[in-house]
Amino acid sequence: MSNSDFVLAIEDLTVSFDGFKAIDALTLYVDKGELRVIIGPNGAGKTTLLDLICGKTKASGGSIKFKNNEMTKLAEHQIVRSGIGRKFQTPSIYENLSVFKNLEVSFPRGRGVFGALAFKCTDDVKARIEEVAAEIGLADQLNTEAGLLSHGQKQWLEIGMLLMQDPELLMLDEPIAGMSVRERELTAELLERICRNRSMIVIEHDMDFVKKIAHKVTVMHQGKILAEGPMDKVQNDPKVIDVYLGH
């Protein structure tokens, strides 16, 4: 099978921390335009997997190909620049800056030292910021200091910051953790909308939410893939049931 059909092709990926294999010979493919949800019990290695893809953790072995380019040897910022965006588990925004500045900083221009010095917030940048702000529902909060936002709004802001870069692969680590019911619904809608022209990997625990958004679900356990497929199939897989309910 050719890898080039996939946006992301992970093969034989392994990482160990002092002998403990957090990810063990894992192979995973993500299609173009696919929204993949990864579920699994605590310690299954989900977040570690995202860390590996975005370069935060270096792999002990195996390969990660994004659009057929090897990512494992690249630095984090190079991986981002090739089109992978990642949202962290806890909202990771610049609390001291305004919403506007948060988005502006994420705009993919002037990324070098001197580029940043010369960077001007031109009209097209402003237009883009306003567009994204509207998308994430913070259009009227542009001048608010980000630290003052509610927890849910912070999560959205971080997603917005990723959208500024228009990544082809977007990875979200528990985007609805700590959100109210209403916020969850809105987030689900948001994800569906932004998924239209890019691939996404989402880690989530909330099964209703997963059901609502997932194209395909991967279940991880002890650093390995336990099952993969549509939600209803995976849900009925005895192995999965065993893992979730067994011990």
Binding site: Y94, E95, V105, G110, A116, F119, S150, W156, E189, L190
Partner: protein, 408 residues
């Protein structure tokens, strides 16, 4: 009057204008040339403090080796001035006339080759800017690329300061050793020791300092300034927004180093000598306190802080010689415990609200307006003792129910 009050309260230019008045008008008009020369000396330290605002306040990087760069800049200038002061006629009692006196005392009979270019003023000026910058680049590049930060960076810069001071003291034939390079007299034939020269140098120094402040202000207001603040807050987020974080840190470290070099050179010109006592650890830490007292986030505050600490030091050491160390100690502890944002922070929280009592909108866009008292100035390096996040744990604690987004 109200208008003035409002302007003072809202514009960050106001602080600069007031400082300019103090430095260019009030001080020269009120103090004698001896005290003014002292102020000039303090203002050379202010370059370091301004650099530290950028490096420490904005970049979250604490260097305990800024004295190294101050010293290097000063030595570059002093080497030029010393060569000019060592013409064959005024050094004719030496066994080798025409070389600096301390070389003659150390049986060096020929000017070392690396001293030669310092006969040229343009070269010396270039060197005093570039030598500190290049050293900062090498150290910074090596460390930031490997994500050494916080405490570790501070300790390593401290070791660099120690190495350089041991080297300078040990190679006294080439550097003047512990005495330093003394007895500097003229620059291109212009006697720098006269009162008129002191005046001119004072103003030249002040102009350069304001140039430095404006340059730093421009950096703060650029996207780079925003990025520095962003990095200090969430370094990983910046990295995963596609920025090579290390490059920005190297840049701001080099910038601070260059400012130090400039300050050192102005010091050598105004005081008339340069000695390794600036290169060591103690002066480097003292320079950090200048910025801390002034407010680590405020360029103008750093200058006030420098002036205040040094005036205090001079005054107390003249008036209460045995008490002044206690006062310095109290200053260090007090600034950290009670006023983590220094003078500028006090201004922000007491003076400004008073100025704005007649209600004026707050400018939220300018980064200078944002001062967070509890901000951790630096993220610990990856290997620090900071607790590792528990694997795959969901965020705990209650979150406030947010208002729903206006998704149409």
């Amino acid at each position: 009057m109200d208008k003035l009050k409002k302007w003072l309260g809202t514009s960050d230019m106001a602080g600069i204008v007031v400082l300019a008045l103090v430095v260019f008008v009030v001080l020269p008009g009120t103090v004698d040339i001896f005290r003014l020369n002292l102020v000039g000396k303090y203002l050379t330290y202010a370059f370091v403090a301004v650099g530290l605002v950028m490096l420490w306040g904005y970049g979250g990087i604490l260097s305990l080796g800024q004295g190294v760069f101050f010293g290097l800049g000063g030595y570059c200038m002093a080497m030029f001035l010393k060569l000019e002061a060592s013409d064959p006629i005024s050094t004719k009692i030496q066994s080798t006339p025409g070389i600096p006196d301390f070389m003659d005392w150390n049986q060096i009979t020929q000017l070392p080759i690396w001293w030669e270019p310092f006969r040229s003023l343009p070269f010396a000026i270039l060197a005093l800017l570039l030598v500190p910058t290049i050293l900062a680049f090498i150290v910074g590049f090596a460390m930031f690329k490997r994500r050494v930060g916080g405490v570790y960076f501070a300790i390593i810069t401290q070791a660099v300061a120690l190495v350089l001071s041991v080297l300078i003291i040990g190679q006294q034939g080439y550097t003047g050793g512990v005495n330093g390079i003394t007895d500097l007299k003229t620059m291109l034939g212009w006697d720098i020791r006269t009162d008129s020269a002191k005046y001119i140098l004072y103003f030249a120094n002040a102009v350069l300092l304001f140039g430095a402040i404006f340059a730093c202000r421009a950096v703060q207001r650029s996207k780079l300034g925003t990025l520095l603040l962003a990095m200090r807050d969430k370094e990983d987020r910046v990295r995963f927004s596609g920025y090579d974080v290390a490059n920005f840190k190297v840049f701001v470290f080099c910038l601070a180093a260059m400012l130090c070099g400039l300050g050192g050179a102005m010091f050598a010109l105004q005081v008339g000598f340069m000695s390794p006592s600036f290169v060591g650890i103690v002066p480097s830490i003292e320079m950090v306190i200048f910025a801390a007292v002034g407010g680590r986030m405020s360029l103008v505050g750093a200058v006030y802080g420098t002036l205040l600490v040094n005036f205090g030091k001079t005054y107390f050491s003249e008036t209460f010689p045995q008490l002044w160390l206690f006062l310095m100690a109290a200053l260090f502890i007090g600034v950290v415990l009670a006023f983590p944002n220094g003078i500028a922070g006090l201004y922000e929280s007491y003076v400004k609200p008073w100025l704005l009592k007649s209600k004026a909108p707050r400018d939220t866009g300018a980064p200078t307006a944002q001062v967070t008292p509890e901000a951790t100035p630096a993220t610990p390096p990856r290997t620090s003792a900071a607790p590792a996040r528990a694997l795959d744990s969901a965020p705990s604690g209650k979150q406030p129910d947010g208002v729903g987004p206006a998704v149409a």
